[in-house]
């Protein structure tokens, strides 16, 4: 047979990197973990000082960007090399709107998300028309172009000198200027965004994402508009980067183009993989490794980058499902559950 030989080969190529372990399985466990995590993080800064609080907030903000990329990479199987650039768009949009134009942070936050969502659609459409890996090429170009514009258009973006004195939002008239108050605000926003994603993943959309990653051809033959879902996954993933940027700007109170460069986009991809692509909680672990680990490893100076990259490499060789996959394996071994048992758990979850 000539042509049909390709039928079976494509899905295999997509790899097991981003396996969703029966996406229903941890749905409710995930929600509980998210809630509990939020409660813990609400109180965690006690005794940590402003630095610890700041790092926790930074971790959560990066987690949001990684969550978005996880949707793009982990659930839809697309390589986006512009997550940091999207974050930059969101950060600059929010910074410029709140400092120069005047709407409050909430409106700016929404605009940042909408803007990055729309740009995602515009970028994704021509790229995905050709082939999935062309998205990597287009986003690579986009990422660098955004960086150039942020740097060169000094009249608007402050250029290499950046934008400073970005105000922090207030909530019901309550000022959130303090490190702790703003941290708690970040916790709430992160929780809302995480729950929204959780909801989406367990809705029919999530099923469609799983399907199009595992076997896009079969998915299309079942009426799933793979192009639309792929595009949506990318655009929503990008919008999450926009949201993250909208929080990043007031958190740091200063932005310049450097945290939104191409290498930062690569770094975000590594965080997704390290945490476990396709796991809803993976991004938190990935961002923990990317943001908090360097803080722990301050003693070794710049060596932490090598350590981080080596961890990712070893994970990819030993357990492509990342730390989440390792934890899952460990948990299964601990509770003595084999694969079949796992499937059973999964499906009782699915019935609810």
């Amino acid at each position: 047979m000539t042509a049909p030989a390709t039928e079976g080969s494509l899905p295999q190529q997509r790899g097991r990197l981003s396996r969703v372990p029966s996406f229903a399985a941890f749905a409710d466990g995930t929600l509980v973990t998210l809630m509990l995590g939020a409660v813990i993080l609400w109180f965690a800064p006690a005794g940590m000082g402003r630095y610890g609080t700041y790092v926790l907030s930074l971790w959560l903000v990066m987690s949001i960007a990684v969550m978005g990329l996880n949707l793009t990479l982990g659930y839809a199987g697309l390589k986006s090399l512009a997550q940091a650039a999207f974050m930059g768009l969101g950060a600059y949009a929010t910074a410029l709107l709140t400092t120069k134009v005047g709407p409050n942070w909430y409106a700016s936050f929404a605009i940042s998300g909408l803007l990055t969502f729309a740009v995602g659609l515009v970028l994704g459409f021509p790229a995905l028309r050709v082939k999935a890996h062309y998205l990597a090429f287009v986003t690579l170009a986009f990422s660098t172009l955004v960086w150039l514009i942020l740097r060169n258009e000094q009249w608007l973006t402050g250029g290499v000198f950046g934008l400073s004195n970005i105000p922090r939002p207030s909530l019901f008239g309550l000022k959130l200027d303090g490190a702790l108050a703003f941290h708690r605000f970040v916790v709430i926003v992160t929780l809302i965004l995480a729950i929204a994603l959780w909801w989406m993943i367990r809705s029919p959309w999530g099923r469609a994402f799983t399907a199009l990653r595992e076997n896009p051809i079969r998915a299309a033959s079942l009426g799933i508009d793979t192009r639309m879902y792929t595009l949506l996954a990318f655009a929503i993933g990008s919008a999450y980067a926009g949201f993250a940027g909208a929080l990043y700007a007031p958190l740091v109170e200063f932005i310049d183009p450097s945290p939104f460069s191409l290498s930062q986009s690569f770094f975000l991809l590594l965080m997704v993989v390290a945490g476990g692509a396709g796991y809803l909680l993976g991004p938190f672990i990935g961002a923990l490794l990317g943001v908090v680990l360097p803080e722990w490893l301050r003693v070794v100076g710049s060596l932490y980058l090598i350590i981080f990259a080596t961890i990712v490499m070893l994970l990819l060789i030993a357990c492509p499902q990342g730390v989440s996959g390792l934890l899952e394996r460990g948990w299964a071994r601990l509770t003595g559950k084999d694969k079949a048992g796992e499937a059973k758990v999964a499906n009782t979850g699915g019935r609810s």
């Binding site: 965690a44 630095y51 930074l58 958190l251 945290p259």
Partner: protein, 378 residues
């Protein structure tokens, strides 16, 4: 769920700040050890380490040994902010660094809020215009250096037109924005205004462009390595017009890397291990011996920064953090009082420095000082 709690506990343990050791004076250096600023940052760090070793060997500050810690910022404003916050939470006596203006901009409010002196390596003119009384430079600002260059171009080089090549980062853009009005004031025409990228390797096209501009002189404002690459490319294109620069262009690293192409380069030098002052040369030798390469001006800045803190502390005779800033502001530090300052330095109330500086030229692979320029307000 249990694992979540354990993780949270571990997290807080990891991020909680250890109490500083009481018997030592803790200084934290927050600097670019990776990313785009790694080269400048590494020099700065080494200069600081050298100063700390010198001071500790001579009994420390007011009898206390210095404990120095370096935190890498990845040349990223968010991380810089975290690191400065950490330094303050850990009770640093003063904040050293960073060197790049962007990260300085992101972190200076934190030190200001904590009322702790921050001694930075940045040269961008804007930094000291924000009314932050806790920020101190360790070198001349571009605003102070550029008029001297414009003068030099006009009176010594006698250039009627000039091509400006600059690196498009905060350092280069700041310098370019500072020199253009000075050139205009001096009546010198800018015939080419060439931006280059940080880390750019290939300068052939830029050199051709500048050659074709037929300028009387070329003002080169790039980082060390880029300066060297540009000089080599310019030589390949047979550019024979004088190359004029500020500090970096005449630095040891540039001369080493550019080889013959650096000969004939001239300009203004703020800090240099080749300055005709024995203390500088001695620093250069010590640095070379310890790190096996020649320090650039960032190494000198780091070395001086630590000694500025030492001087202020010994002057106030106590370890008062806020007092360091108050003592430094408006002070003039003389090498006779504090040899580690290397040359007489006046600190203005906005954190800018005033010092003597030099006019130099590279002859046979050596930086030769032609003249010493007086302080702006002698």
């Amino acid at each position: 769920m249990k694992s979540t709690w354990i993780m949270a506990a571990a997290l807080s343990a990891g991020l909680a700040t250890p109490a500083p050791a009481q018997d030592k004076l803790k200084l934290v250096d927050v600097v670019e050890l990776s990313g785009a600023g790694a080269t400048a940052g590494t020099n700065w760090k080494n200069g600081i380490d050298l100063a700390v070793a010198d001071i500790n060997a001579k009994g420390g500050i007011l009898g206390k040994q210095i404990e120095i810690v370096h935190y890498d910022t990845q040349t990223n404003p968010g991380n810089t902010r975290a690191a400065v916050q950490r330094a303050i939470d850990e009770g640093t006596y003063a904040v050293l660094g960073p060197v790049f203006s962007g990260p300085i901009g992101a972190s200076m409010q934190i030190a200001q809020r904590a009322e702790i002196a921050q001694l930075v390596g940045g040269e961008a003119a804007g930094l000291t215009k924000q009314g932050n009384p806790y920020l101190f430079r360790t070198s001349l600002s571009q605003a102070a250096a550029m008029p001297k260059i414009a003068n030099y171009l006009k009176n010594t080089v006698k250039a009627g037109s000039v091509a400006v090549v600059w690196v498009n980062n905060d350092f280069g853009k700041g310098g370019r924005d500072a020199i253009l009005p000075e050139l205009e004031k001096a009546g010198i025409k800018v015939v080419a205004d060439v931006a280059t990228e940080q880390g750019q390797a290939d300068f052939a096209a830029d050199a051709i462009k500048i050659k074709n501009s037929n300028a009387d002189a070329i003002f080169v404002y790039l980082n060390e390595e880029e300066s060297a690459r540009f000089l080599r490319a310019a030589k390949q294109q047979g550019i024979s017009k004088p190359m004029v620069g500020e500090t970096t262009l005449l630095g040891a690293k540039v001369i080493e890397l550019a080889g013959e192409a650096a000969n004939g380069v001239k300009g203004h030098v703020g800090l240099s291990i080749d300055a005709p002052i024995p203390a500088f040369q001695e620093f250069g030798k010590k640095f070379q011996a310890k790190y096996n390469y020649a320090s650039d001006h960032n190494g000198l800045k780091g070395y001086m920064a630590v000694h500025m803190i030492k001087w202020a502390t010994e002057k106030q005779k106590k370890f008062d953090k806020k007092g360091v800033a108050d003592t430094l502001r408006g002070a003039t530090i003389k090498p006779s009082d504090e040899p580690g300052i290397l040359m007489e330095t006046t600190i203005e109330s906005n954190g800018d420095l005033d010092r003597e500086s030099f006019l130099a030229e590279v002859i046979n692979g050596k930086q030769v000082i032609n003249a010493t320029l007086p302080k702006i307000k002698p």
